[in-house]
């Protein structure tokens, strides 16, 4: 039974809107908050000024489709990946670009190591590490299936690759598999807690899986209505938010973990959750939905939304500004809009 909450939520103030040509697959805000990068399914990569949305630099895209964009931690390099099997990079200070053709499948995910030395790329069934000069330095080919998601340990020593069969860990410079979190199921997304103690995966079989690093202890939260492809940790690592169907469930992972606890269910969306993200250093949780709404809750225990806004087309990506004051949203119709919170 769900009770309809009729507490009126504030409407979020919309800022600028940019119109891209296609479905927004990925968004990333530069660490200094000045620029935003976008990847669209049509293949284009754009860098826009965060202040007003005008294009900073037109970049070469990925023929066939772009899938991911990621800024390096110092904000000097932007990396993108696409269905062309290439990683492209752009140097912000020199304006020069580079293309690294990696072959072997789509570049579906990118992750910079926490100290910025490496860029990990999921290339079909291969995990590839590039150094700061964009030279491929490691490649672990032929994992059990296409890599869906990459995550670094917080010390940046190992990279984990989610695929059908669990999470495979690798260490740059070493050929051997570092650790195998074997699990019979298909991992769709990964999220590392800020403390580095827990790894969460969202899975095709409507479940969330948690591993404790490095004991390997695991637990599973099953029974979601749909496959789980949206989950994110609060910066404190206490809360794990999972967006699934029309609800966001928030698990308390403090102490020994969520075993035996019931999650808080955050309601307020009428469409399916299509994007989910916590404020970088705050308590606000933002979710986007298939019917174009963005809903903001004030905390992990909010009983009703704090504010909402409708963009009219399914929200396909959400990203907070690094200072947590603005939220960038991409839609299925190719709109990129900034909202102030």
């Amino acid at each position: 039974m769900s009770v309809n909450t009729t507490v009126a939520a504030n409407t979020l103030a919309r800022g600028w809107t940019a119109h891209l040509e296609d479905y927004v697959a990925s968004l990333a805000w530069s660490p200094d908050g000045e620029l935003v990068a976008t990847a669209s399914v049509g293949g284009a990569i754009h860098v826009l000024w965060a202040a007003h949305g005008a294009e900073r630099t037109p970049l070469t895209g990925h023929p066939g489709g772009a899938l991911a964009v990621a800024w390096s931690h110092d904000g000097q390099a932007l990396a993108s990946g696409g269905t062309d099997g290439a990683v492209r990079s752009w140097d912000r200070s020199t304006g020069s670009g580079a293309t690294v053709a990696l072959g072997g499948g789509w570049v579906g995910d990118l992750a910079w190591s926490p100290r910025g030395a490496y860029l990990a790329a999921a290339v079909g069934r291969d995990v590839v590490i590039l150094n700061g000069d964009m030279d491929p330095v490691d490649r672990w080919p032929d994992q059990p299936s296409t890599i869906s998601s990459l995550v670094w340990t917080i010390d940046g020593r190992q990279v984990g690759a989610g695929c059908y069969g669990g999470v495979r860990w690798f260490e740059p410079g070493k050929d051997a598999l570092h650790r195998d979190f074997a699990w019979k199921g298909s991992v769709l997304c990964l999220a590392m807690a800020g403390t580095g103690k827990w790894l969460a995966s969202g899975n095709q079989d409507n479940s969330v899986h948690l591993w404790r690093l490095w004991s390997g202890d695991e637990l599973e939260m099953a029974g979601y209505p749909l496959k789980v492809d949206h989950l994110e940790w609060h910066h404190s690592s206490r809360w794990l938010a999972v967006g699934n169907a029309e609800d966001v469930t928030v698990w308390d992972v403090s102490g020994k973990g969520p075993r035996g606890r019931r999650p808080k269910v955050l309601r307020g969306l009428t469409g399916k959750v299509t994007a989910l993200t916590w404020q970088p250093a705050g308590d606000l949780l933002a979710a986007g939905s298939s019917d174009g709404d963005i809903v903001l809750w004030g905390s992990a225990r909010a009983s009703a939304p704090r504010s909402t806004v409708s963009l009219g087309s399914a929200i396909s990506a959400l990203a907070w500004s690094p200072d947590g004051t603005r939220l960038l949203a991409g839609t299925a119709a190719g709109q990129v809009t900034v909202v102030a919170v």
Binding site: Y23, A25, V41, S145, T146
Partner: protein, 332 residues
């Protein structure tokens, strides 16, 4: 309630084209792409073919079968298709139709089940039909090939799963051989319509826009057709049709179906049926793949005689047992 049939389905139709190596899939595909003027068709290939059509979007995929954690066969899906189809439907240049070409060794079940199980796929794409191409000259040999224990005869499975069977290369056999091939196909799959082709040339309508998973089409099952489910060969995969007048008692029916799918779901590849449920004025129609079941009330019976027609295609089906256990669900 009658509006159901009037609602327009905006999902993009997907045709699954399967068949043994050498059956002529690439030739058929090229023919379809040439003939389907004005339609934008995307093709997903699991084996390198030679698509000779410039304006068709052709994507390569490597078969990735995902079994879910609970080990249930009905939860086996194709990870590669979820990823590629999921990306395809996001593109602004929408396609009128998608054709998924599988290898001759592919198991059709995970392909079909992907369209039932994955929500993103189900809400945006509609499985139109499984079309299986067979080589008139060599299909008998493929079917008779003895496999080691526990290994599936893929040719047999692909025929059993089909909604439409295209018998290709008919110019390489005489009429008698052709008739024998068709009898054999019919004994495996009593439901699929058989069309003949030479060099992969068939009417577009014979393979595209079939709507085989549309519950309305279940009503078109021809009872005469089903009566001809002769057991020609001593083969493991067959069709069993049940045709019984009367009403079924809903509680008993549910228990029967639940038990059947729990015990035999792995062996039942496809099923379809029209049921007269006691107290229900409308025909209840259903169809399914393994344990995945889709059903709803459809057209009213009106003055027509209330009766039940079901067909199962599967492995090691016990016709007598199916008939008697179903008969026990009748109200009298």
């Amino acid at each position: 309630m009658t509006d159901e049939s009037l609602t327009t389905d905006h999902r993009i139709p997907v045709t699954v084209l399967t068949g043994f190596l050498g059956s002529g899939k690439t030739t058929l595909l090229n023919y379809l792409l040439t003939e389907s003027h004005g339609q934008r068709i995307a093709v997903i290939e699991n084996e390198f073919g030679e698509i000779g059509i410039d304006d068709a979007l052709v994507l390569d995929a490597e078969e990735e079968i995902f079994e879910m954690n609970n080990g249930c066969i009905c939860c086996t899906v194709r990870g590669d298709l979820i990823r590629i189809l999921g990306n395809l439907v996001r593109r602004r240049d929408r396609f009128d139709r998608i054709v998924v070409e599988t290898t001759g060794l592919a198991d059709p079940a995970p392909v079909a089940q992907t369209f039932f199980v994955d929500d993103d796929i189900r809400t945006q794409l509609r499985l139109d039909a499984i079309v299986t191409l067979v080589d008139a000259k060599h299909v008998m040999a493929h079917l008779d090939e003895v496999k080691p224990d526990g290994v599936e005869n893929e040719a047999l499975e692909q025929i059993a799963f089909a909604d439409r069977l295209v018998v290709n290369k008919i110019d390489l056999v005489d009429e008698e051989e052709l008739a024998a091939v068709e009898r054999r196909l019919r004994s495996i799959n009593a439901v699929a319509e058989i069309v003949r082709a030479r060099n992969g040339k068939v009417d577009l309508d014979a393979v595209l826009g079939i709507g085989a998973f549309d519950l309305d089409r279940v009503l078109e099952m021809d009872p005469q057709f089903l009566a001809q489910t002769d057991h020609l060969h001593d083969q493991s995969v067959t069709s069993v049709a049940i045709d019984m007048p009367g009403d079924v008692e809903p509680g008993r029916l549910n228990r029967w179906l639940g038990k059947l799918l729990a015990e035999k779901g792995t062996d039942i590849f496809r099923m379809k049926g029209i049921l007269a449920v006691a107290g229900e004025e409308r025909r209840y129609v259903f169809q399914g793949v393994h344990m995945l079941f889709d059903g709803q009330p459809n057209r009213p019976w009106g003055d027509d005689e209330r009766s039940n027609r079901l067909v199962f295609i599967g492995r090691n089906l016990d016709r007598a047992e199916l008939e008697s256990s179903f008969a026990a669900c009748l109200t009298r």
